[in-house]
Amino acid sequence: MNNKVKALIAIVVVAIAGVVVVQQQSGGDVTLTLATVNNGQMKDMESLKSEFEADNPGIKVNFQVMEEGDLRSAVTSDVANKAGQYDIVTIGAYEVPQWGANGWLTDLTSDLADDAYDVGDILPPVKDALSVDGMQYAVPFYGESSILMYNKEILDAKGVKLSNNPTWNEVAAAAKKVNSANTAGICLRGKPGWGDLFAPLTTVVQTFGGTWYDMNWDAKVNAPEFVQAVTFYKDLLASAGQKDPVSYSFNECLTALKTGKVAMWYDASVAASMLEADDSPVKGKMGYAHAPVAKTKEAGWLWSWNLAVPANTQNKEAAVKFIKWATSKEYHNLVGTKLGWSLVPPGARTSTYSIPEYKEAAAAYAPITLEVMSAVNPKQPGVNPQPWVGIQYVAIPEFQDVGNQVAQLVADAIAGRITVKEALDKGQVIAQAAGDAQK
């Protein structure tokens, strides 16, 4: 018996020590490594990659799918250190201009010039966000704004009606009215992170009249409007939100809404295509409205997930070929015919919105997506002018760090461990240090 225990300990030790990395060898063919985010549209791209591989013999595409935060740290450190692990990277509208200016990305302007690709078809506000001095460093895979989505069945049962341009007070009242033990009134991102919690929260701050920085790069994080907005967000979560906000971001809220665990959701417009997909239990039961507002006319964000080729890749030609394929009109057609028209990546190409099948399949949300994306103003999303272009983020390298730290403080405030004012007073110091670096 004693020997058995010893043997067991030995096995445990071997199991711990026995981490064997098997490196796969590729013979002759080009294998592209693509880092991407674990959102539905990207998984669709992965499931369709065999079509590309069949048309382009000799090129294999290897997907590495990660959570948003992990993707950011993995890709940023890889590209900044010129490690060359990835041939294609998925990066946000926040990163593209900064990385382009740093010389980390391949300039795609001439590669995209052919008529078949039709670069002029890309939605102008999205395309503008991806170029620096007229050079295009990335192509949008999909673009999005933020909208309010709600389950009409649950709202109708309580006699709640929402207008097409609701205010936050209307939404809060509706959320409280439909909130019950089994169904939360509203799902809002609470996972600490500038791209998680602070994406919707920054739009709330802006429509409440607050901002991260004024025109002199002085931080305004503990200004009354900012505090008021965060307090509103916290109170709404406490009175009618999902139970465990720190665990919730885009995908968790999507699941909760699909399974009827929440009645409303304020998040990326791209979610609508997933809610209306054929396998969605809430298909056809959803209503959509503009992002809720307080003092501004619009409060939606502007974001795109883009494909780019790092400057130091060994397989530039094949990589460019793949990203042109994945963002082409033919790809949209392929998604429509193979997977369903509602799953066509939205917010990237104008022509998408004139495909008859897409117009029919996405009738519930295609018009509002296009409407909101054309209405938002990334140059001045809030009440006051700001010294950067971008809505739910500040386009400076320090922002992901600042946003992340302040988000952790706000998460502590949401849990009630500190007050909102205490959290934002600390956040102000962190934000000011980053602001000073811009002066």
Binding site: N2, I9, S77, V246, P397, Q408, A411
Partner: protein, 303 residues
């Protein structure tokens, strides 16, 4: 004169003998120095530079600015407190749970080996995977088993990661490391002399008294080893924090803080400075605790 040269010769061969073993271990020594000390020197060099990965144009010599930042921002002390607290609670809890299971498994019963294998499983699961399992299958407010039970009992669902991040991490780490503690304690229990136990029962000592006065003293050294090894492993805990709590609610340990500075802040200089400070702290703690570690092992052998 003759004897003088003899002594000289003897001394020479003695020094030769002395140097031979050193020469023999030199390759291994050089290898380990290259492997451990060179990266550390590079880290020290990085810590003296202003280097944010996102600002490749602004690399410069920073002097001790990064160290000033480390001590001025006040993130270090809370991180040390979080690390020590989480480690201490998790070690104690997993030791108690491990002891409980070890005592149960020490008895003979049908399916004993199956039970033992099943109980060890949590320790063999990758930490990231177990954090994900706990986040979704156990703690989740909609589909988690714990909240299912809580709601069946008539209470409202608990937002574990939001309301109780500290306890959530301890629960997960306890679940993960109790099997390890159990293994060590079980080997201790099985090395107990049966005669002594028999003598105790002949003397009509009850189960509790036998446990308290015979088994526990016998287990003492196993417990000490379990605590030391467990502490070393748990100090590095990272996955539950990165996956479940994101450093909120006092769970921002040194490991997570370093990760954040390096991979969220993308600030190589600051991260390196934190690394150097952590290494210095670790050396201080290790010098003290290694001494007691060796004491445990030596007295264990002499016994």
């Amino acid at each position: 004169m003759a004897s003088g040269t003899k002594i000289e010769q003897q001394a020479k061969s003695a020094t030769k003998e002395k140097f031979l073993p050193r020469k023999l271990i030199a390759p291994a020594l050089i290898f380990s120095i290259a492997l451990t000390q060179v990266p550390f020197l590079v880290t020290i060099y990085f810590s003296l530079r202003e280097w944010n990965l996102l600002k490749p144009q602004e690399k410069a010599f920073a002097g001790i600015d990064n160290y000033i930042y480390v001590f001025k921002t006040g993130d270090l002390l809370p991180a040390i407190i979080a690390t020590v607290g989480l480690t201490a609670f998790s070690v104690v809890c997993s030791l108690l749970v491990g002891l409980f299971f070890a005592v149960l498994l020490d008895r003979k019963f049908r399916g004993q080996s199956i039970a033992r294998t099943l109980i060890i499983t949590p320790f063999l699961i990758m930490p990231a995977a177990s954090a994900l399992i706990w986040k979704f299958s156990m703690f989740d407010t909609n589909i988690g088993i714990i909240n299912f039970v809580v709601q069946k009992l008539g209470f409202s669902a608990i937002g574990w990661s939001t309301q109780y991040p500290y306890i959530s991490v301890i629960i997960l780490l306890t679940w993960q490391y109790a099997p390890f503690m159990m293994l060590i304690l079980l080997s201790g229990l099985q090395s107990q002399s049966r005669e002594v136990l028999e003598a105790a029962s002949v003397d009509r000592a009850g189960v509790l008294r036998t446990f308290a006065f015979i088994t526990l003293p016998h287990l003492r050294q196993y417990i000490e080893i379990a605590i030391l090894l467990g502490t070393i492993m748990l100090l590095q805990a990272f996955d539950p924090i990165a996956i479940m709590t994101k450093g909120t609610g006092g769970t921002k340990t040194l490991a997570y803080l370093l990760y954040e500075r390096a991979f969220v802040g993308m600030n190589v200089g600051q991260a390196a400075a934190y690394g150097v400070v952590t290494v210095i702290l670790t050396i201080i703690v290790a010098t003290i605790s290694l001494r007691s570690l060796f004491k445990v092992f030596i007295s264990g052998v002499s016994k």
